[in-house]
Subunit: 241 residues, 2 copies
DNA sequence: TCTCGACACTTGTCTATACACGTAGTAGCC
DNA sequence: GGCTACTACGTGTATAGACAAGTGTCGAGA
């Protein structure tokens, strides 16, 4: 059930979804919500911050919060693995290992993961059977040794690593567009030179130690990422970061 | 100079940049920072939330904050126009109007902006003289009438609209990849079928009224977007949505 | 009728305090 | 030496109260 503000946030979210607060309407004031939920105003503010971060409500100083709508697309607010991500979209995640090699790191990999040997995994990722992404991940030796023992076709590597005590804490994503290489095209069953959305991702643990460096190439037609924005300089917000 | 926590955040940011807290090191505790800046702990927490949202520090319950590094790429935390965005990157923004027409809205436009006539603006956006983006924006009639009177080649439309009392408050972005159309290729001076990063953007004012619906196509090679992530469910964070 | 000012309301910022719970180092025990 | 339990510390959550500043409404006055 989570903490207090998480419960309040969940109930507010549900209320918006149920149409209690339809898009375009205004939420009750923080004080009213605090009274009706029996919590302090600060707790309500923390809950509302999570809604704002998801783009569900808009905030303006002096005016009650505006309900924007009950959109639900996959955003970046949570750090999620492909498997979790797929499940959140209501699809069945899958994978097929193309290659897993242990080799000396390239200069680019060494810059991110440090010099030495790396395990390099190439996987095709499936959404309900359809290939939608090619994943090329370099793991430092310590992590790669664990990954090598897994069934990367079925398991969520992130979940398995978590069970083994390897926790992903932070990630930096960089998005751009590239053309499909011959291999990409073969793996995704598309024409060569088709456009792909490229995501470079460096994941680290809580100590800032790099755990994986990955280049993912998504089918432009099948997948999209969403982000919500506000001019509002601050307002304690949740999630992302 | 802004509010208290903004000043604290700016000073902490500067301290990280100056190397007072090098990457990999740990920040002083919230209590120590509060004492040394002469503010309450809550204020320090609010400042630290903004740093975390920029991916500058990582937080873990029970442990002091870890300094990740002084990266500085363009993120989504602020709602920025192309012009502001370019300037933040140290480049000179530019633009060239390809077409500005007033016409009946397409079904897709009507869904976002409401039925009726729209002004449709096609622009090539330049970064220090190089074309990097094609922008196709639909404005509702009221806004479009204002835009039509501007010098869209030189002015920042967003800035000019702001002067006229039209304030952009929220935006929802959706990112995917597409191939350059013949027109895209001609405007950006690239080969047809080159990969482009597509950003669909719906901007609204503080009342949730749509102000523009735009499809921007970025040169994949020239531009990249970055996002930072953390498993941390909450932590009051700033900026983004 | 229109404009402007007063006022109640609302959100943003800040302080102070308290407790829960995770972290990390230490000391003691086997 | 190595393991465990304890303990000091630090962050997360929550409360209560205060003031600043923006919003919107209503009423008085021109």
């Amino acid at each position: 059930m989570g903490t207090g503000y998480q419960q309040v946030a969940a109930e507010l979210r549900a209320a918006v979804d149920r149409g209690v607060y339809p898009p375009g309407s205004r939420l009750p004031s923080e004080s009213e919500l605090a009274r009706s939920y029996g919590v302090a105003r600060g707790t309500v503010r923390q809950a509302l911050a999570t809604l704002a971060s998801d783009g569900l409500v808009s905030t303006r100083k002096g005016a009650r919060r505006l309900v924007l709508g009950q959109q639900r697309l996959q955003g970046f607010n949570e750090l999620r693995s492909f498997s979790e991500w797929a499940q959140a979209l209501g699809e069945t995640p899958g994978g097929r290992v193309v290659a897993l090699v242990r080799r000396e790191s390239t200069p680019a990999e060494a810059e991110q993961l440090g010099t030495g040997r790396v395990y390099h995994l190439t996987r095709v990722r499936l959404l309900s059977g359809r290939p939608v992404m090619v994943e090329r991940t370099a793991y430092p030796e310590r992590i790669g040794a664990l990954v090598a023992g897994m069934d990367a076709g079925h398991d969520s590597i992130t979940a398995r690593l978590q069970e083994l005590g390897v926790v992903f804490a932070n990630a930096a994503h960089t998005l751009s567009a590239v053309v499909a290489s011959a291999e990409d095209a073969r793996l995704l069953d598309i024409r060569p030179r088709a456009p792909l959305l490229r995501e470079l991702r460096l994941s680290t643990d809580a100590d800032g130690v790099a755990l994986e460096w990955s280049e993912d190439r998504y089918l432009g037609q099948a997948v999209a990422f969403t982000i919500h924005n506000s001019v509002h300089q601050n307002t304690l917000i949740r999630g992302l970061a």
